[in-house]
């Protein structure tokens, strides 16, 4: 007999993979894959803040991530600070604030492993609905502003000169990226979120030469990795997130040999 929580866990992994893989080609080509990791770490402080003050975790974390992202943009522009440095500063400060808040809440024990690799067995029906909506919103966003996203990814400055509305699309993209990370963090954890934002596109670009095909292949790779990784973890009693990442890495190595042959 297959229990509901196992079906939810399986669906959760696959849907989480789809939602993140849709963003993967844009994140990878814009060379902002560090954003996934940075935003996940910043989200940690948001979670700690919500736990400390007894607030809604999702809303607090999301607001916190969006505010800090905007602050990074403002501080780096205003004080002419390198954006990568500004991100690293805010990332470490956020993590530190999170750890201080958790240590102050003496009676609360925080499971760091669950934060790093997520906990798929906690996925419920509401999470599945949330992930379906999130994937649909991502897909709609990409389809609707594909032209703008494509040129933003190609070269934002030149796209601006050619009067393509890249500023607005960039803000929407970053906010939606933050929403994806916050929602997926609970399910997938930092490591899987980071992996699913990079690996699907890197694998897809090893095979596909066109952008649209890369998006389709990336989503398929992510779904297959999540599905098979989950089944392997269930069968061999291994950590789910880690199994998905390792399986996806194996596909990456396979496609590297394909790329070498074709070059």
């Amino acid at each position: 007999m297959i229990y509901n929580f196992i079906i939810y866990a399986f669906l959760g992994c696959v849907l989480s993979g789809i939602s993140l893989a849709l963003f993967s080609p844009f994140v990878t080509l814009r060379k902002i894959s560090y954003m996934g990791e940075a935003l996940s770490h910043i989200a940690f402080a948001g979670i700690a803040l919500a736990l400390f003050f007894g607030l809604n975790i999702h809303i607090t974390t999301l607001l916190f991530v969006v505010i800090i992202s905007l602050l990074i943009g403002i501080v780096s522009k205003r004080f002419k600070l390198d954006e990568a440095n500004a991100i690293t500063i805010f990332l470490s400060v956020s993590m530190s604030i999170g750890i201080i808040l958790i240590s102050l809440k003496n009676n609360y024990t925080f499971d760091l492993a669950s934060y790093l690799f997520g906990n798929v067995l906690l996925i419920g029906k509401a999470d599945i609905v949330q992930l379906v909506i999130l994937s649909a919103v991502n897909l709609f966003f990409i389809l609707f502003v594909y032209k703008e996203l494509f040129y933003l990814t190609y070269n934002a400055e030149i796209a601006g000169v050619y009067r393509i509305r890249v500023k607005l699309v960039n803000y929407l993209f970053l906010i939606l990226l933050a929403v994806n990370i916050v929602i997926n963090l609970k399910i997938a954890g930092i490591i899987l979120v980071s992996a699913q934002l990079i690996l699907p596109a890197v694998i897809a670009f090893n095979i596909a030469k066109r952008f649209t095909w890369a998006i389709v292949i990336g989503v398929l790779v992510s779904m297959i990795s999540a599905g098979i990784g989950f089944l392997l973890s269930w069968y061999f009693n291994l950590p789910t997130g880690a199994s998905i990442v390792v399986f996806e890495f194996c596909i990456f190595v396979l496609t590297l040999t394909f790329k070498r042959k074709h070059n």
């Binding site: 032209k147 703008e148 190609y154 070269n155 393509i164 670009f205």
Partner: protein, 242 residues
């Protein structure tokens, strides 16, 4: 018409451009020349609205340039367009960028847009490249694609920043011949260049810049002495034939 009104630009107290005051009339083929570090690319960036913290004003067709640029794109070829060599875009994708501002937010390119882009690539001698990935193009081929993109904007102004820098010698003349054809249709061409010899047979108006203006007048009125003053003592004019 483009008017620079007493434009000054400093970075951290260091003067990059001083008292820039000149007018570009419609239909001119303008060459901006000067040594490295003279502020040529900065001048172009000011015109394109990529730098906004300067003193003075720039007018395009009677409007403040930022106001004008909000309504119209300018066909621009940067010195080096930065992109990932593996970016999965074709020459056609890049040319189509020139039409993007004519489409409303979120709207996709139509069949007729694609035909227009192919036609523009043809004008620039790059029609055979439309399916090629940009990473596989030579410097000269890529410049032609960028020129096709600039033309598609229908802007009366085409701005180029050292287009010859990434083209091999034989390709430079071919590229300037295409520019001559485009200029003949009534467009104003503004190009930065180091290649004064080649430019002399194409441009109608010369701007000699070295942080400040040394001259800005019709090409045939500029003498070697002024050019030497712009570039410094070490500059010598050498006659060359291609």
């Amino acid at each position: 018409m483009i008017i620079f009104n007493n434009v000054n630009y400093n970075i951290d107290g260091k003067s990059i451009l001083m008292n820039i005051d000149f007018t570009i009339k419609d239909g001119e083929f303008v060459a901006i020349v000067g040594p490295n570090g003279a502020g040529k690319s900065t001048l172009i960036k000011l015109l394109l609205g990529l730098i906004d913290d300067f003193e003075g004003s720039i007018e395009i067709d009677g409007f403040d340039h930022i106001k004008w640029l909000r309504q119209h794109p300018i066909g621009y070829l940067p010195q080096k367009e930065i992109f990932d060599r593996h970016f999965p875009a074709t020459a056609l994708d890049i040319a189509l960028m020139g039409l993007a501002s004519k489409l409303s937010f979120g709207k996709r390119f139509s069949r007729s847009d694609i035909d227009k882009a192919k036609k523009s690539l043809e004008v620039c001698g790059a029609q055979h490249l439309h399916k090629s990935l940009i990473g596989s193009l030579s410097g000269g081929e890529f410049q032609r694609v960028l020129l096709a993109r600039a033309l598609l904007t229908d802007s009366p102004y085409i701005v180029l920043d050292e287009p010859e820098a990434s083209i091999d010698r034989p390709g430079v003349l071919g590229f300037f011949e295409i520019l001559r054809t485009i200029h003949a249709t009534g467009k104003t061409i503004i190009t930065i260049s180091h290649d004064l010899h080649t430019l002399s047979s194409y441009c109608t108006f010369l701007v000699c810049l070295n942080k400040t203006l040394h001259c800005h007048s019709q090409m045939d009125l500029v003498d070697a002495e002024v050019i030497q003053k712009t570039f410094g003592e070490s500059f010598h004019i050498i006659e060359k034939d291609y």
